[in-house]
């Protein structure tokens, strides 16, 4: 049995200790700790109040009143301290911050413009069910030319235009070259899968040229769709979709006759100039910019991979990643070689 006196003393002791802690608390966290320490479930005051059962019943009422007073006092003290701390904290912080001081930045590098373009292009085509692939850069002549219906004496096969590898030619596939276009991927893809084919091939290509608008290494993205009853109408649909997705809703496209060995009919695809909006200016041709080539897959190409041109038709397009990148609003790079100069001042702009 505890006596009334002991219990009273203890309660008063708790009150004094708690008040001194509260007084000393310099921030809200400490104050919260104090609250827990005294008023929490296993706080000192809480436990002491439980001990009330250990004193004689006739004295309990008196102790009860005292205990409530103590509790109320502590709660009030915490409340008023808390108010004053809140107020104080704000003023202290306001003094500390100069928002114009330089920030501490997390590290942030830059992805190359070509990577950014490739990501964007892939996203657009993948939404309409194209499968993105990548095929060899060092390739056999057969894949890059013969199977694509290039005659043996075609100028693209000259060593003025295409890089040749020092290597014995294959008896089956001819000389080894650096692929000058992603179209070689058409053949690889048709060998890999049966129709229906819906390919997006993005890869590095190489041609023997270097000037303000050409680099010896560049990137192309090639589409190929092969199925029964694929027509020019479908080709137009896909390129309209691409142009509007990539360049913007208000850009228009047109196709006009052109010539490629591996397509028949062949087209050149134009998109309206973003600078003059198709009115005609210094940068474009009567309001149009050339985006690249396209066409209906030549029956000889289908035959080369064992597909029946009477059953299947298809279309293909092959465009320069760098080219569509430059045609986008806001990026007017006067020398394409800058893309591969790896001047950090340039790379860090994007």
């Amino acid at each position: 049995m505890l006596s009334l006196n002991v219990m009273e003393e203890e309660l008063i002791g708790i009150k004094n200790t708690a008040l001194s802690f509260i007084l000393e608390a310099e921030d809200l966290e400490t104050l919260e700790d104090v609250k827990l320490q005294f008023l929490g479930r296993s706080g000192k005051l809480t436990l002491t109040i439980k001990d009330i059962t250990k004193i004689p019943p006739e004295q309990r009422k008196e102790v009860g009143i005292l205990a409530n007073e103590v509790k109320q006092t502590i709660e009030d003290a915490i409340k008023s301290k808390s108010e004053s701390l809140k107020h104080k904290t704000k003023t202290v912080l306001r003094k500390k911050i100069d928002v114009t001081n330089p920030a501490i930045l997390p590290p942030l590098g830059h992805l190359h413009l070509v990577t950014q373009a490739i990501e964007e292009i892939s996203g657009i085509f993948e939404k309409i069910g194209f499968t993105r692939v990548r095929y060899p850069e060092v390739e056999w002549d057969w894949y890059a030319f013969t199977a694509l219906n290039f005659p043996p004496d075609h100028p693209a096969r000259d060593d003025w235009e295409t890089f040749f590898v020092k290597s014995a030619p294959s008896p089956k596939y001819g000389p080894m070259i650096l692929t000058p276009h992603t179209s070689s991927g058409q053949i690889r893809e048709m060998q890999r899968v049966e129709p229906p084919v819906r390919m997006l091939n993005i890869a590095k290509c190489y041609r023997r040229q270097s000037d303000v608008s050409h680099t010896a290494m560049f990137h192309q993205f090639e589409t190929l769709v092969i199925d029964e009853n694929i027509s020019i109408s479908h080709l137009k649909g896909v390129l309209d979709y691409f142009a509007k997705s990539y360049f913007g809703e208000n850009r228009k496209t047109r196709i006009r006759p052109y010539h490629f060995q591996f397509t028949e009919p062949s087209f050149e695809v134009d998109v309206t100039c973003g600078v003059c909006n198709g009115k005609g200016c210094r940068l474009c041709k009567e309001g149009w910019l050339e985006m690249g080539g396209a066409g209906m897959v030549h029956p000889n190409v289908l035959k080369a991979v064992g597909l029946d041109p009477e059953k299947y038709t298809g279309f293909a397009s092959g465009w320069g990643v760098e080219r569509v990148l430059m045609m986008k609003d806001g990026i007017e790079i006067d020398d394409l070689r800058l893309l591969y100069s790896n001047n950090l001042e340039f790379l860090k702009q994007f």
């Binding site: 830059h110 023997r208 479908h234 047109r254 028949e264 029956p299």
Partner: protein, 649 residues
């Protein structure tokens, strides 16, 4: 190639109310691209890009015929006025004999005329000059004017300077020398088509350019007017290797219709008569060994509709073709089409005819449709590669790296690795492009040296490297490389970068060992599989290269759930004094194996010969007691003492 012609010249051969802008627009969308229409005094010039398959359009006549066909289709009145040429009277005098080689030249038309050298009339000079052809005198100008009008190059010799009975066509031999009419000397590669006189002196570089020794001069009295239709790949080769890109060469290297040769001759004769007081003094020479038969092609209505995607009545197709000069008849549901000689090189199959129909029908009249999605399941074996590539690139970007794209080629100096394994380029553009690279690092270091002004650099590249294989295509392997230049950088920063990168790819078992290559750095493994290297080049320069194919093999999105611990861990630090030679990894492993209750050990600090390890003890089912911990601690202390001769602080 581009040609420029005056609107008024075009209208010599087409009668139409269509305005130049309309003509340009129509041609661009249905035929060849008119890149610019510009006002030229009262006149207009068209700047037109002619595709290689349409040499017939490299002429005013060809363009006029095509324009008329197009305009008619769109309901604009237009009439093509062909050139009317008659074979002139010629004496039966054989002044010169041309000895052809049919392997080299398909057709030769020629004639000898008496002429007077003069200035050309104004209209002709203006037409040539707007076509970017310099006017010299009437004799030369007529050859160029014929070429532009008809589309077949022509040549004129001073007949007396030729001074020969025979003009023999042969292939040049390597090392023979010629001086072209622009006074430049060329040493021939062998295989160029040349004409020689009786003394075996070369007097012409056929199809490319005339020579100084036989060109007309101010004193020319008699000319040999000469039209040669050459085998195209000889021309291409000669023109490219000699670096002579004349209009004639560019036209001659295409499939040029030999039927045009006689038209060019007759038109030229007429012009010499009109503008140079020309008189024919020899018979007309026409050597034509390679005459071709007209092709006939059958096209079905069904195929037309299938390829174009719109129904076009056969009758309309027939009309379109007739307008373009293709005679044809309708046979039930098919068209039988005869290909005109000027299109013979370009039109071979049904699809070629369909192209003619489609382009004149108008591509803008064909609706746009997205092709229906496949009903079959599509699995993309490449998807994984692209996913991880993107993820790695983005991680590096957000850790402050900038991505570079360097050329896949390197110079011999920059080639690192065994030269025998490298793919060598036979015809590099410059010495900088001699080999395909075996590693990316040298290219990245080159970027550093080209950006000397930048103090702190963090760059990376994810690209292919190429390893030669006997009788096969090279092995193309993706590599991930990076270079860091910074005063404060050290090995552990890069080790941490790679470790964390691999962690993000779900690869938790990366291992770093002393570099096998000997230098300062580390070899990186995934488990036991070799992944690549970190190289410390100097105090402020570190590079790394990893085999990305190996990363792809191990990268994964596997997720594993471990129940959260309900009991608090006990944490303590132990400081050990131990020799520098002992590897931290070995100590960590030694500590870890002392008890299953040790859930994690890490190196917290290292100072001189003292290392502090941070140990976390955890029991999954209950609270640990101090007794238990102190027992484990004793075991650790003892084992470190015996294994590494370590003392505990």
């Amino acid at each position: 190639m581009n040609i420029k012609i005056l609107d008024s010249w075009l209208r010599d051969y087409i009668k139409t109310p269509a305005k130049p802008k309309e003509i340009a627009e129509m041609l661009s969308t249905t035929s060849v691209s008119v890149e610019k229409v510009e006002k030229h005094g009262d006149d207009f010039t068209y700047d037109i890009e002619i595709t290689t398959n349409r040499p017939d359009l490299m002429s005013v006549l060809g363009l006029a015929r095509e324009t008329a066909a197009v305009l008619n289709q769109y309901g604009i009145e237009a009439k093509f006025i062909p050139l009317k040429l008659e074979k002139p009277q010629a004496p039966k005098i054989d002044l010169i004999k041309v000895v052809n080689n049919p392997r080299l030249v398909n057709r030769i038309c020629a004639i000898v005329m008496e002429v007077k050298v003069k200035e050309s009339p104004g209209y002709l000079k203006e037409r040539l000059e707007t076509s970017d052809i310099r006017s010299l005198n009437n004799l030369i100008d007529i050859t160029n004017y014929v070429m532009r009008t008809i589309g077949h190059p022509a040549h004129v010799f001073d007949f007396d300077r030729l001074n020969t009975k025979n003009l023999t066509i042969r292939e040049a031999e390597k090392g023979e020398r010629v001086i072209t009419l622009d006074s430049k000397e060329h040493i021939l590669y062998g295989g160029e088509i040349v004409a020689v006189n009786d003394r075996n002196e070369i007097v012409d570089l056929l199809g490319i350019m005339g020579l100084k020794n036989s060109v007309v001069t101010e004193n020319t009295k008699r000319i040999l007017f000469f039209i040669d239709n050459n085998e195209k790949s000889h021309i291409r080769k000669a023109s490219m290797s000699l670096g002579i890109r004349t209009d004639a060469a560019v036209i001659n290297e295409k499939n040029l219709d030999p039927e045009l040769a006689s038209e060019a001759l007759l038109y030229g004769i007429k012009l010499y008569e009109q503008l140079a007081e020309g008189k024919i003094i020899s018979e007309i020479i026409d050597i034509y060994p390679n005459k071709q038969k007209a092709k006939e092609i059958l096209v079905s209505e069904e195929k037309i509709n299938k390829v174009i995607g719109v129904k076009i009545p056969l009758k309309q197709s027939s009309q379109i073709l007739s307008g373009l000069g293709f005679e044809n008849i309708i046979l039930e549901s098919k068209l039988k089409v005869r290909v005109p000689s000027f299109r013979a090189s370009d039109i071979e199959i049904e699809e070629d005819i369909i192209e003619e129909i489609a382009r004149i029908f108008g591509y803008s009249n064909i609706p746009s449709k997205i092709p229906p999605l496949s009903s079959q399941l599509v699995v993309n074996p490449f998807a994984n590669t692209f996913y991880w590539e993107k993820r790695v690139k983005e991680a590096l970007k957000y850790w402050g790296f900038t991505e570079t794209y360097t050329y896949s080629f390197v110079s011999e100096d920059l080639l690192e690795g065994p030269i025998k394994e490298a793919v060598a380029i036979q015809n590099p553009l410059t010495e900088d492009f001699a080999y395909m690279r075996l590693t990316l690092v040298p290219s990245l270091l080159k970027v550093l040296s080209e950006n000397k002004k930048t103090e702190n650099i963090k760059i990376f590249e994810l690209s292919k490297i190429y390893k030669r294989q006997e009788n096969e295509l090279p092995q193309e392997q993706s590599a991930l490389s990076g270079v860091i230049k910074n005063e404060k950088t050290d090995f552990y920063e890069i080790k941490g970068l790679l470790e964390q990168l691999l962690n993000d790819l779900g690869i938790k078992n990366s291992v770093f060992k002393n570099s096998e290559k000997g230098g300062l750095g580390a070899s990186v493994y995934i488990g036991k599989e070799y992944l690549g290297e970190i190289e410390v080049l100097d105090n402020r320069l570190i590079d790394f290269e990893l085999n990305f194919e190996i990363i792809l093999k191990h990268a994964n999105l596997k997720k594993e759930y471990k129940p959260l611990s309900k009991f608090p861990p006990i944490v303590e630090d132990i400081s050990v004094i131990v020799s520098d030679a002992i590897k931290t990894q070995d100590i960590l492993e030694e500590i870890k194996k002392q008890s299953e209750l040790i859930s994690e050990v890490t190196l917290k600090d290292r100072f001189n010969d003292s290392r502090t390890f941070h140990i976390i003890y955890l029991h999954p089912q209950r609270n640990l007691t101090n007794d238990e911990i102190s027992k484990i601690r004793q075991t650790i202390t003892a084992s470190l003492k015996s294994a590494f001769n370590a003392s505990i602080k």
